[in-house]
């Protein structure tokens, strides 16, 4: 029987380094390997012996695209260990800076990494020749997300102002005022983005995924909530290790995380949307409906619309937070370290990001566990490819390769984070 291998040696427009190998025997897919050759950096090892207060600065360095996610999961886990709960304006400010990261990261993915696939361009630079106004809109929207992060955090990449207990310096109401004006424009631009992405050509590709996301009684989840799935999971963040398990596979530097009972699961915008549609703001719900999405969406290619809806939500929510903001009396609350284990899980733009730290009574980190979103989605990405490739058999290798890359980019995988993630090889015998 005729066999062949499709190889993508260096998967582009994702963050970090990975490759894909698909082996075909006739019309049968016999192997799919998403390989992460991003070199290991050993964060969990060298966090041992560091002071609890260093975790937000150090773990931010795991990822340049979503440093706020790392900082937020770290501060929540440390505060949990030390028995402190941050509420009021400090909590609101954390939600605001996280909205900034969602806007920046989602817009980067929508306009610069994913939209070129749907419109048939190698990159945003080529796309800009035919879609200059769209690209300028995307860049401006992304810039506003970055400006929120910069104003509160000090800089876009690896912000310096986040600390366990709160912030080093908090903005005045006056400082935030210019952002409100920009966000009013951004909210309109995000609405246009939803309408634009809704027109892209989408393959019919639905599956019965298990979606896992945080769920909070009062809000669309960012920093806090219970771990909930559409197939019965409903546990506290502290119970993560009892339900999720990481596997080390020979071909990848990234660990694969699965649900103990049921295997692969999906995290990220699609999961959040399916589990928390009712918590989106009215404007975001309405835009989703106009874009042809119901309260449930199970086509990963449509994640670009969901991401656009979430961007709209983040602009709307950021505006609400700024209007309600009252400057706190203190930039941070006092922390007294104690010998304890702390757990934190927040919604990175790509999905849930879990941190666990064990501290001694001096606040020294004894051990650390970090499970990034891409480790959790890896197995599901492979499963999507197992299902997708047979439908593409009549196409040229070039087209199969591009479609597979696109299916991977549906997940906005962050490979740097996952090492602890891609090339495409399609092999036909």
């Amino acid at each position: 029987m005729k066999s062949k291998t499709i190889k993508v040696d260096y998967l582009a427009r994702v963050e970090g380094e990975g490759s894909l190998m698909i082996k075909l025997k006739g019309d049968q897919v016999v192997d799919v390997k998403l390989k992460i050759f991003e070199p290991p950096r050993f964060f969990e090892a060298f966090l041992r012996g560091r002071h609890y207060s260093e975790a937000p600065d150090i773990t931010a360095r795991i990822c340049g695209i979503c440093p706020i996610a790392y900082q937020m999961s770290a501060v929540h886990a440390m505060e949990h260990a030390c028995g402190v709960v941050i509420d009021g304006p400090l909590r609101a400010l954390r939600r605001l800076i996280y909205c900034g990261e969602w806007i920046e990261s989602h817009t980067l993915h929508i306009y610069m990494l994913h939209a070129p696939d749907f419109l048939g361009y190698a990159d945003v630079m080529q796309m800009a020749k035919d879609y200059p106004d769209h690209v300028r809109r995307g860049l401006q929207l992304k810039k506003i997300g970055n400006e929120i992060v910069r104003l509160i955090g000090g800089r876009e990449i690896h912000p310096i102002n986040v600390r366990v207990g709160g912030f080093y310096r908090v903005p005045t109401k006056h400082d935030l005022a210019p952002l409100a004006e920009q966000l009013k424009w951004a909210r309109e631009a995000a609405l246009e983005t939803v309408r634009w992405t809704a027109q892209f050509p989408f393959p019919e590709f639905d599956a019965d995924y298990e979606f896992v996301a945080l769920r909070h009684p009062d809000e669309y989840p960012l920093n806090q909530g219970r771990l909930v799935s559409n197939k019965g999971l409903d546990v506290a963040v502290e119970e993560f290790d009892q339900h999720f398990v990481e596997h080390h596979v020979a071909y990848s530097n990234a660990l694969h995380s699965t649900l103990k009972e049921r295997g692969a699961y999906l995290v990220g915008p699609l999961a959040r949307y399916n589990i928390n549609f009712d918590k989106l703001s009215p404007i975001a719900q309405q835009a989703a409906r106009e874009a042809g999405l119901g309260p449930s969406c199970r086509n990963p290619f449509r994640s670009i619309i969901v991401r656009s809806v979430e961007t709209l939500y983040a602009c709307d929510e950021a505006l609400r937070l700024i209007e309600a903001y009252q400057m706190p009396d203190q930039p941070a609350v006092a922390i007294e370290p104690r010998a304890a284990t702390g757990y934190g899980c927040t919604e990175a733009p790509r999905g849930i990001l879990y941190h666990r730290y064990r501290l001694d009574d001096q606040g020294t980190i004894l051990d650390a566990k970090i499970v990034p979103p891409t480790s959790q989605n890896q197995k599901m990405i492979e499963q999507d490819l197992w299902r997708l490739v047979p439908e593409l058999m009549s196409f040229s290798d070039e087209k199969i390769t591009w479609q597979c890359e696109q299916a991977i980019r549906n997940y906005d995988p962050c490979i740097s984070c996952a090492t602890h993630f891609l090339k495409l090889h399609i092999e036909r015998e």
Partner: protein
């Protein structure tokens, strides 16, 4: 005037967080003009189009941590007219150079269930330890204005203007109150390379050295000052072992406080 060939730019990645190359995509206001002036020939984070070399300018992010990467950097050097390292990983080994002070085998076994699957070098080393580097841009992450300055300068054949003085000078220029003198907050500003515009002190915290050592830093004197502020020896080791732990002045200072 006859149109000139656009210079070819390549962006390479080794062990890193992708943050420094992301700085290029974070130039929202300048990106489209930049693309008018140069050809982005190889930049996998942004494009699936990969044009063959040679390249006029290569930007290298990340440190060397695997046998494969130690080979790959030589191929990149041969294909590059000018090679610039961007960020603390490529310039000083990065945060992952914390392994250089420990047994890497232990690190592998802490993180991975099957250490035999992992291929890694004992040390994380900067690019200049392996090949000739034309220019090093500091920072964890780099400053995007400095990145634009470096690209612009090199494409015009002049020296980039990224001064090697300390963060202290930037603080004074901005009129930021000295956090160490006024509040007794330990600060690495006096020994740290400029480039961030004294960011941390302007947010009421001490500099933690993410731009690495300045030219000829007096780390010994600064440690004495920190000691007077009540910082212990073990803490001094940790302070100098941050994002530029393997840069020589910081490495030596950290070793001087090991007990």
């Amino acid at each position: 005037m006859a149109s000139k060939r656009k210079p070819k730019l390549a962006v390479w990645k080794f062990a890193s967080c992708d943050g420094c190359q992301l700085s290029l995509l974070d130039c929202e206001d300048e990106l489209l003009s930049l693309v008018d002036a140069i050809e982005i020939a190889y930049f996998p984070e942004a494009s699936r189009a990969m044009v063959k070399g040679p390249y006029d300018l290569s930007l290298v992010e990340g440190s060397i941590t695997t046998p494969h990467d130690a080979e790959r950097i030589h191929r990149i050097r041969r294909a590059s007219k000018t090679l610039v390292t961007i960020g603390a990983c490529a310039t000083a080994g990065g945060i992952q150079a914390l392994r250089n002070f420990k047994d890497v085998k232990e690190f592998v076994s802490i993180v991975y269930a099957t250490p035999a699957y992992i291929e890694t070098l004992n040390k994380s080393t900067p690019i200049a330890d392996h090949v000739f580097v034309d220019f090093e841009l500091r920072g964890c992450p780099i400053n995007k204005s400095q990145l634009l300055e470096v690209i612009s300068a090199l494409l015009h054949g002049r020296k980039p203007n990224t001064p090697p003085h300390s963060v202290c000078i930037e603080c004074k220029r901005r009129g930021v109150v000295c956090v160490m003198v006024a509040h007794g907050t330990p600060c690495l500003g006096p020994v740290t390379h400029a480039g961030c515009n004294a960011l941390c002190p302007s947010y009421h915290r001490g500099c933690y050295g993410c731009f690495g050592p300045m030219e000829t830093p007096n780390t010994n004197s600064l440690s004495a000052w920190w000691s007077r502020l009540g910082v212990g020896e073990a803490d001094l080791v940790r302070v100098f072992r941050g994002f530029n732990a393997y840069a020589e002045p910081f490495r030596k200072e950290s070793e001087a406080h090991e007990v």
